[in-house]
């Protein structure tokens, strides 16, 4: 990455200016030139300042996660530790009171399962909505779009109740009474998210760009719709699948509200965000803030790494979502 203060550009600017300025006096020309340089400097300085301000919170947590407790709570605050305490990371991982590795395992299972399910359901639905013609199709698409407007709070209570009363699961009888239903299993964290309206929308938009001729040709060759879908369409929408996968995975990894509600009665299912927040309350922060911060850095790492590795697709998804 090139450094932000790209001063070498300035002389080039000066040269560009020189033609058309013939009639003006030398002093005025110099003044104008100085203003240009000043503006350029101001521009780069403000970008640098904004960038630093945006990065500062990350700098602090990285630095504080390797401080001693005394340094984290020092007044006035310290910017960097005197010697980095890398042991904070090991200590919090080994701490028997906080099963951090189990949180990671749960988050990984849930995020991966939801991502795979969303990829499958979104591309199946997207194909039907983009490439097949049948009555009711447009109504279903409109409905898909409109669901994005419903607040999540309309669903929390009923879905919780539906899972709790699910027949024949978790000790429930046929009528769904007597037990905890699907609430005490991974299903409670996964199933309510296996279809994503945004995912269906994204795949539909992407599949619309595939020329009909390609699909017709395959059909003339005798391919079934399932064959066309898996052999022709899917290979062509790989970039969209990547975008959707990253979005879903990071979204699930970071998701807090629903996992918190479900795992209140099922602590063994706690995901990283829920466990991390619990650590802040169960742990006494006054003693262990530095270790808490080390755990926080570890919780951030997976989503930031996925984003780093595949940011091209992630950013594309953001732009795509803005332009129907």
């Amino acid at each position: 990455m090139s450094e932000p203060l790209a001063l070498p550009r300035v002389p080039a600017m000066r040269k560009e200016l020189e033609p058309g300025e013939g009639g003006k006096s030398a002093a005025r020309q110099r003044g104008r030139r100085r203003r240009r340089v000043l503006g350029k400097l101001l521009l780069h300085a403000s970008v640098l300042l904004i960038g630093l301000a945006m990065f500062l919170p990350f700098f602090w947590i990285l630095s504080a996660s390797v401080m001693t407790y005394e340094e984290v709570t020092a007044i006035p605050p310290r910017w960097v530790p005197s010697t980095p305490q890398w042991g904070n990371y090991g200590a919090v991982l080994r701490d028997p009171n906080v099963p951090l590795l189990k949180y990671f395992k749960n988050s990984f299972i849930v995020s991966t399962a939801v991502t795979l399910a969303v990829l499958l359901t979104s591309s199946l639905a997207g194909y039907a909505l983009a490439k097949l013609k049948f009555p009711g199709r447009d109504a279903i698409f409109t409905f898909t779009l409109s669901t994005m407007m419903f607040p999540v709070f309309l669903f929390l209570i009923p879905v919780y109740y539906i899972l709790k009363r699910f027949p024949l699961l978790g000790g429930n009888d046929v009528l769904g009474m007597g037990g905890t239903g699907a609430l005490q299993s991974y299903a409670a964290l996964i199933v309510p998210f296996v279809v994503s309206a945004w995912g269906v929308f994204l795949m539909r938009q992407f599949m619309m760009t595939i020329p009909d001729e390609l699909i017709d040709a395959a059909r003339i060759d005798g391919a079934s719709d399932l064959g066309i879908f898996s052999m022709v369409v899917m290979p062509l929408v790989k970039p969209a699948l990547a975008t959707l996968a990253i979005f879903t995975f990071i979204g699930q990894w970071n998701y807090f509200l629903w996992p918190m509600i479900v795992t209140t009665s099922a602590p063994h299912l706690m995901t990283v965000p829920v466990g991390l927040r619990l650590m802040g309350t169960a742990y006494s922060t006054a003693v262990n803030m530095n270790k808490l911060l080390a755990a926080t850095v570890m919780a951030i790492a997976p989503s930031v790494c996925v984003f780093l590795a595949l940011q091209r697709y992630y950013v594309k998804g953001f732009v795509l979502s803005g332009f129907k």
């Binding site: 450094e3 932000p4 790209a6 550009r9 521009l43 970008v47 904004i50 960038g51 945006m54 990065f55 500062l56 919170p57 990350f58 602090w60 947590i61 504080a64 709570t73 020092a74 605050p77 359901t121 199946l124 639905a125 039907a128 097949l132 049948f134 279903i140 898909t144 669901t147 994005m148 419903f150 607040p151 709070f153 309309l154 669903f155 929390l156 209570i157 009923p158 879905v159 919780y160 539906i162 009363r165 879908f229 970071n254 509200l257 965000p273 829920v274 927040r277 802040g280 922060t285 803030m289 808490l292 926080t296 919780a299 951030i300 989503s303 930031v304 940011q311 732009v319 803005g322 332009f323």
Partner: protein, 310 residues
């Protein structure tokens, strides 16, 4: 030689079946996790229910849950007011800053790097965001006040001050979300044909004139999209306020009413007070508000401007 009518019909029936077969996972999901829950929410909103007994065993109370929220519960009204401040602040301040930054970044080298730095908070879990800022906002040990002192400004109590607690959280939310907005604005700005600016220069427009008469009108679809999606999200904001105001060690000592927003109110009503009827009634009121705001924004921003963009 054309196929007979029965043949054609059989083919159209088969096509319809295929379509619905591909859609079946989504449709089953819509039914079980969207349509049925919404119907249940509506049903619950007219009843007095605590989730401990079967739903059908609850008592019918008519519109009482709605009238309670709208006329009897002061906290609900406070939550609505706070949400208005929170949503307006995060969405519109965030958008204004993001547009400025996006314009700046189009003029510097290494912009990809800076956009990347700004995007990192977007993928950071909200719990981590809350923990980071909870640490920065500590009145004595936090860097926020250290920086204020460096530039000779009076230190603040941040989350512990009921007067600025909500605004402190708005600042966090803007930090956490601005990267995404910058990316969307950047794409929008790049989509404006250069010839418009050339034409404006010929007409003698300055930078401000270009901004007002070309950039903003051409960005209208982007602004529309960001406002609607941003407001829908902001009216449901929960995580940061829950963690920083009531549910964590970073929580300041401000009273809940100085920061409570609708989502937090509904959460407490449902899962702390176990008043499911009131919570569902509140969720429908929230839905109506979001719907109303979306239409309002659409009306205001659709008027004039670049219609062809849709």
């Amino acid at each position: 030689m054309s196929p007979g009518p029965t043949h054609a019909r059989r083919r159209s029936v088969k096509r319809t079946l295929t379509g619905y077969l591909f859609l079946s996972p989504a449709l089953v999901f819509y039914l079980v996790f969207l349509v049925v829950p919404i119907a249940m929410s509506l049903y619950i909103s007219f009843r007095d229910w605590n989730m401990l007994v079967p739903m059908t065993g609850s008592r019918f109370v008519g519109l009482k849950n709605y009238t309670y929220l709208l006329t009897r519960d002061e906290l609900f009204v406070i939550a609505v007011k706070n949400t208005i401040i929170y949503a307006t602040g995060t969405v519109f301040v965030g958008m204004a800053l993001a547009l400025g930054i996006a314009i700046l970044l189009l003029r510097v080298r290494g912009a990809t790097f800076w956009r990347f730095v700004m995007f990192a908070p977007v993928v950071t879990p909200s719990v981590a965001v809350a923990r980071i800022w909870g640490g920065l906002y500590r009145p004595a040990e936090g860097l926020a006040n250290a920086i204020l002192r460096m530039v000779h400004l009076p230190p603040q109590q941040w989350l512990a001050d009921p007067n600025i607690c909500l605004y402190s959280i708005i600042l966090i939310a803007v930090w956490a979300g601005i990267g995404a907005t910058v990316i969307v604005f950047t794409a929008g700005l790049k989509g404006i044909p250069e010839v418009y600016y050339d034409a404006a220069k010929l007409d003698g427009a300055g930078p401000w004139g270009e901004f007002r008469h070309i950039t903003v009108p051409m960005l209208r679809p982007t602004i529309l999209f960001l406002s609607v999606t941003g407001l829908i999200g902001a009216w449901q904001a929960f995580d940061l306020i829950f963690m920083l105001a009531v549910g964590g060690t970073e929580a300041g000592t401000s009273p809940v009413r100085s920061v409570i927003v609708l989502a937090l109110y509904l959460y407490q009503m449902a899962f702390k007070n176990l008043r499911m009827g009131r919570a569902c009634a509140g969720a429908f009121l929230l839905f109506l508000i979001v719907l109303g705001i979306s239409f309002l924004v659409l009306r205001v921003l659709r008027k004039g401007g670049v219609e062809s963009y849709e």
